[in-house]
């Protein structure tokens, strides 16, 4: 099952599974939606109103940054490690 971890920088604003959580999903969208189902407040910190990745948030899948930042259709393998992190451009 893919695992998703969140940057500890988010903890200052909202409780989220920084240590990592395993959820099912075949795309980045699927995986994140499942996390947000249990942690609804986190959604608005990672995605904008249209469901796109916020400009200065980056999601890595096995070390590579997600390319489809609006649709989040990047595929996720069953053993994938996802990291939701803040980009350095937003500080």
């Amino acid at each position: 099952m893919p695992r998703v971890a969140f940057t500890s920088h988010l903890e200052r604003h909202v409780q989220c599974p920084t240590g990592g959580i395993a959820v099912t999903g075949a795309t980045v969208r699927d995986v994140l939606d499942r996390v947000f189902a249990d942690h609804p407040r986190v959604r608005g910190y990672v995605l904008d109103e249209q469901g796109s990745l916020r400009q200065h948030v980056v999601v890595f899948v096995n070390g590579r940054a997600v390319r489809d930042r609006a649709g989040l259709t990047d595929p996720v393998a069953d053993d994938a490690e996802l990291y939701v992190m803040q980009a350095l451009s937003g500080g």
Partner: protein, 372 residues
Amino acid sequence: MGDRIRVATRKGLFTIERDRSGGWDVVATAFLSDHVSMVLDDPRDGTTYAGLALGHFGAKVHRSHDDGRSWEECATPAYPERPSDAGPDVDAFGREIPWKLGLVWELTPGGPDQPGTLWCGTIPGGLFKSDDAGDSWHMVRSLWDEPRRKEWFGGGYDHPGIHSISVDPRDADTVIVGVSCGGVWHTESGGATWDLRADGMWAEYMPPERRHDPTIQDPHRLVRCATNPDCLWVQHHNGVFRTVDGARSWTEVENVPPSTFGFAVAVHPGDPDTAWLVPAVDDDARVPVDGQVVVTRTTDGGKTFDVIREGLPQHHAYDLVFRHALDVDETGERLVFGSTTGSLWVSEDGGRSWITVSSHLPPIYCTRFVPA
């Protein structure tokens, strides 16, 4: 001994001078109300260069041949046109890199044997060179076309940028360049070819499998010891690093009080073991620790540090010092730094104590001693 300082700010360029009684004051202003991102006094011929960031009209470069009394616009680095059949130029996050000058972020003179040679670092990551003192610039394509540039991304700004260019005093064709976020690059051929030299740095902001990737390191500022040119210091996004082998390898300087986060660093021109930093809490809290502005200084290569407070505000002070806003003069005895609150401080004793020059300048981007 540094008696004169240029200060590039959000609203103009200021020249500060020390008078005979030891007082420091503003003696000249230029480009009042314009954003000045960078300034350089060329020690070889006394020309002063200023990089402007005109919000509406783009970045520009001006120069003065009379110590800043009068200025003329010279050539500005221009990005080339993208070939129409080229694929998209995107950064590591898929963001398109515009082939347009965003900001003049570093100006460095070439070697003493290269009159008229200047280097310019820019956002979004282009490196430029002039061989005619700013009459024209050409992009150093070898670095722009480097395939690993695709791994770069913005740090502090939306797009990557070259903020530090250090020419080896022994050989002007050997140059080291610092990129946020794109590691440290080195040439021995005046820019014809490059190798990546960031081994030993690590990135807290990356997933574990990418943390030691040299291509995505974020050195905030890179400085070289003039008399020991193989020794360089870097204030990085998540720590302080030092090399003693010309950047072939970097070692982390640990346990830096009160914090390892910051933007600026300076090294004593005559002593590679003496360096100064101006820390903030961390990248989430870019304010001084406990609201107290301090300068940290080491004289033993980073094994131990003094935390210096004398003359610096210790009560609800929220100054942040940007990467180009700390400088040391050619003797190592005088330093200057300026902050986001428009405050400017000078030290005449190697950083042990500080004098407030002003608390009311515009936000400060760059401070540089005028070479004696």
